[in-house]
């Protein structure tokens, strides 16, 4: 008996059907759909490097006298958290590269989430039925920022300790409950000895588990709802045009994981990040000038720098200045972010289901709001480096500060207005959004070239295949079977449009006479279904005319 383990599983769990369906799952292929993948792969790197770091990090505020290999710190009384981070950096083999990869991955992780969010926003991918996933994604962003801040705080160095001090003050600023909250969080007065172990538990257990769960939900919902796609020939609200999960998408995604790992490893290995040995341990009476948080907290830091020193007293309670930029602003930010699908619907009255994405120019109103809001946060972000800008460009810090106070009010409306006008202009441009026409070029026996526009059928065929780098071809029988099965189950029509192996046959060589009345349509080779095809030509057989690939076309 040739009894395979895979059969064992299938007979007990019925995995074959699910696997077959999954391997044939269609993913639209567009580079902008891979931004979220960067975030996901960074998350995996964060988990891996983070586990390594936990093996050596000591999450304790208890003090110790440092006698490690970093001479300038010798004999200093430091926390065990700080001492273990120094040892991790200098005495654990590959410890520093792991720590730096972890930190770079965190920076890239949040950046990728933000860019992914912008893609989803500007293409309207959050519209019905994807509002829940928009909420899940927003939660992931909030958690990623919080998680980053906690991780940044753990080494207990002078810079991060200052950050915790600011976080303590922000908690205190919340009216009525602030002092209770801060006391609860820190186990008493700042700094105490509880905050590092508590941050550690939240950083390595609570939030990663929540994020993993939310990420699973994010993907499962996407899987269930199927991915959105850009408008294009052959793409409707009822189908998904793209590449199959196996092998094309799996290879692409797997490759992209390794690329992400490569970039993060290169950064971790070649570019210094957070050299805590130069910062020294956090001691409350010490302070370094020019303290910034990591970039994803920059907008909050900038807001705190720019906000005027207003204090409001009412009902016997004083609301400190810091409450407005550091508590109210993020509250409004994330509140509006999560409510956006409903806010937009309030105005558009669009209750329809959308699987086709919009080009940002198709919706000038949304694009303009998005650009304006983005400009606002960008100005706040740059405002977090007022001191660095003042020092770099030799201007007064006060001048830079006041410039940003003006810019933060002036730039967003200007950016929104310009975006609106540009989107309107682009939308009304001739042929905007129209698919480009496929041209078919013939070469006669004598070497004469003639070009003609193809008929709509060929055009559609070429267009479709040009997208997928595929050769015009009828569906292989096998594919039809899977496709029909899916149809029967979902009740939707045309679930699969199979794109087939790669040939770009815009230039076709004609041996002999052109067919009478020939549009050239049928000069494009069509591979025979079911023939040939290996791992890397899975979507159908190569044409016998592969050797004539011209590469680029249209």
């Amino acid at each position: 008996m040739n009894y395979k383990p895979i059969d064992f599983l299938d007979e007990r769990l019925g995995t074959a059907k699910f696997t077959r369906k999954s391997l044939n799952k269609i993913f639209p292929d567009h580079w902008s759909f891979m931004l979220g993948e960067i975030a996901m792969y960074s998350f995996f790197i964060l988990l891996g490097t983070g586990v390594f770091l936990t093996l050596f990090f000591v999450p304790s505020s208890a003090t110790t006298v440092y006698h490690g290999s970093y001479a300038p710190m010798d004999g200093h009384v430091v926390s065990q958290a700080y001492a273990s981070t120094l040892n991790l950096s200098f005495n654990v083999r590959a410890g520093l590269v792991m720590r730096q990869m972890h930190h770079w991955a965190a920076n890239v992780f949040v950046a990728a989430i933000v860019v992914h969010l912008l893609r989803v926003f500007f293409t309207g991918a959050f519209r019905k039925p994807r509002e829940i996933n928009w909420l899940v994604g927003s939660l992931l962003l909030m958690m990623a920022i919080l998680e980053g801040f906690l991780g940044y705080s753990l080494p207990d160095d002078l810079i991060s300790g200052t950050g915790i001090r600011i976080a303590y003050s922000i908690t205190l600023s919340i009216p009525v409950v602030g002092s209770y909250l801060a006391s609860f969080l820190f186990g008493g007065q700042f700094p105490g000895d509880k905050i590092i172990p508590r941050f550690y538990t939240i950083h390595i257990l609570l939030i990663p588990a929540l994020m993993a769960g939310l990420l699973g939900a994010h993907l499962a919902i996407m899987w269930h709802q199927k991915h959105t796609q850009y408008k294009g020939r052959g793409r409707t609200e009822k189908n998904v045009v793209g590449v199959a999960m196996w092998p094309a998408y799996a290879m692409q995604a797997g490759g992209f994981f390794f690329l992400t790992a490569a970039v993060l490893a290169a950064l971790g290995g070649l570019v210094q990040i957070n050299p805590i040995w130069m910062y020294g341990p956090y001691i409350p009476y010490k302070v370094s000038y020019a303290v910034q948080p990591d970039w994803y907290m920059g907008w909050l830091d900038g807001a705190m720098r720019l906000f005027p020193s207003w204090e409001i007293t009412g009902f016997g309670h004083m609301i400190p200045t810091i409450f407005f930029p550091a508590v109210l602003l993020p509250g409004i930010t994330f509140g509006l972010l999560m409510a956006w699908p409903w806010i937009e619907r309030k105005f558009t009255k669009d209750f329809g289901v959308h699987h086709l994405l919009e080009n940002p120019r198709d919706n000038p109103w949304r694009t303009s709001v998005g650009v304006g809001v983005m400009a606002f946060y960008m100005v706040l972000f740059f405002a977090s480096s007022t001191d660095v800008l003042a020092n770099t460009f030799n201007v007064s810090l006060n001048f830079v500060l006041w410039t940003f106070r003006v810019l933060v009010l002036v730039i967003p409306p200007i950016a929104a207005f310009v975006a609106y006008q540009l989107a309107k202009e682009a939308r009304s441009a001739p042929l905007a959004g129209m698919p480009r026409k496929a041209m078919v070029v013939f070469r006669s026996k004598e070497g004469e070239y003639t070009a003609e526009e193809s008929d709509p059928r060929l055009e559609l065929e070429l267009k479709r295949n040009a997208i997928h780098g595929a050769e015009p071809k009828v569906l292989p029988e096998e594919a039809r079977i899977h496709g029909e099965k899916e149809l029967a189950e979902t009740g939707e029509e045309e679930k699969f449009v199979f794109s087939v192996s790669s040939v770009s046959a815009v230039v076709t060589e004609e041996i002999g006479e052109r067919p009478s009345g020939g549009s050239g349509v049928y000069q494009v080779p069509r591979g025979a279904p079911g023939a040939g095809g290996g791992l890397f030509s899975p979507r159908g057989p190569r044409s016998a005319r592969d050797g004539m690939d011209s590469g680029d076309g249209e």
Binding site: L158, V395, L397, A466
Partner: protein
């Protein structure tokens, strides 16, 4: 629009590159880490005596004051009259434009002229560092002349780094200096157009002079605040900061998370977006 290449080229190349680059990055790193460890352990062997930059002269006084040659006073006077007197007056007693220099001591005079701050480039802004107008012997001649006019003030300190402690310097620096000059010594802008300059170009003598005389907005740390030993410790740590242990790669100017954020977004995310654009679908 470009027609996509065959699936093979599209997927295998990125995968192969990714694997190669990951492995390469790791390999690079493990070397870097090994080097860091080696550096660490080699310095730890001499750690307990806290010696950085040689042990010559250990045991001698941490700071001695330079004896200026009285025979150079005449030259110093000539140079002073040529370069300084238009503001400070012929006998350095000050005018409406500039303060009295008599009795400030040689260290003050030496700091201002040896860092190029004097003569001033622009009297309306904070004095900027520039190449000194004088040779070292000319500077010392001016110092000798001005300090000969009236007694008082510290002489030019000569720091014996061999008698200084690096780790004590770190503690003193982070307590007394980092609040303006930043913990890495790179300097930063303060309020109202005033800035704490970078400490990276300073010589040992200039650092000690600055601490002892408090030029410009900087506080003056007399011997009641910081002993000569402590000043020498600080000088030793600042000299270390000029060439710190840069384990982990490019230092990004030691300005902290601002530079890191730009690298993370532009190089980290940017290169990955380009990679995605490379292997992903484009127009439709």
């Amino acid at each position: 629009m470009k027609f996509r290449k065959k699936l093979g080229g599209r997927v295998v190349v990125p995968v192969a590159l990714g694997v190669a680059a990951s492995v390469g990055g790791m390999a690079l790193f493990s070397q870097g880490a090994a080097a860091a460890t080696t550096t660490g352990s080699s310095s730890s062997s001499s750690t307990n005596s806290v010696t950085y930059g040689g042990t010559n002269g250990a045991g001698k006084a941490p700071i001695t004051y330079m004896k200026l040659d009285p025979s150079t006073i005449a030259l110093g006077k000539t140079l002073f009259v040529e370069n300084c007197s238009s503001c400070h007056g012929d006998t350095a007693s000050g005018t409406s434009r500039a303060p009295n220099l008599q009795g400030l001591g040689a260290a003050t005079i030496d700091f201002w002229i040896s860092t190029g701050r004097m003569p001033l480039a622009d009297p309306t802004v904070q004095a900027t560092v520039k190449p000194s107008r004088f040779t070292r012997s000319q500077e010392l001649a001016i110092d000798a002349y001005v300090s000969s006019l009236a007694p008082g003030g510290p002489g030019i300190p000569q720091v014996n780094l061999g008698a200084a402690s690096l780790s004590a310097g770190e503690g003193l620096f982070s307590t007394n200096c980092a609040a303006c000059h930043t913990i890495t010594g790179v300097g930063d802008a303060l309020a109202g157009g005033v800035y704490a300059p970078s400490l990276y170009p300073a010589t040992t003598t200039q650092i000690a002079e600055a601490v002892k005389t408090g030029p410009g907005n900087m506080p003056r740390f007399g011997t009641g605040n910081l002993s000569n030993q402590q000043v020498a410790d600080i000088v030793k740590y600042v000299k270390y900061l000029q060439h710190p242990n840069n384990a982990g790669g490019i230092g990004l100017g030691h300005v902290g998370p601002v530079a890191e954020g730009f690298v993370g977004i532009l190089i980290g995310l940017g290169s990955l977006m380009i990679a995605g654009y490379w292997i992903g679908g484009r127009a439709h």
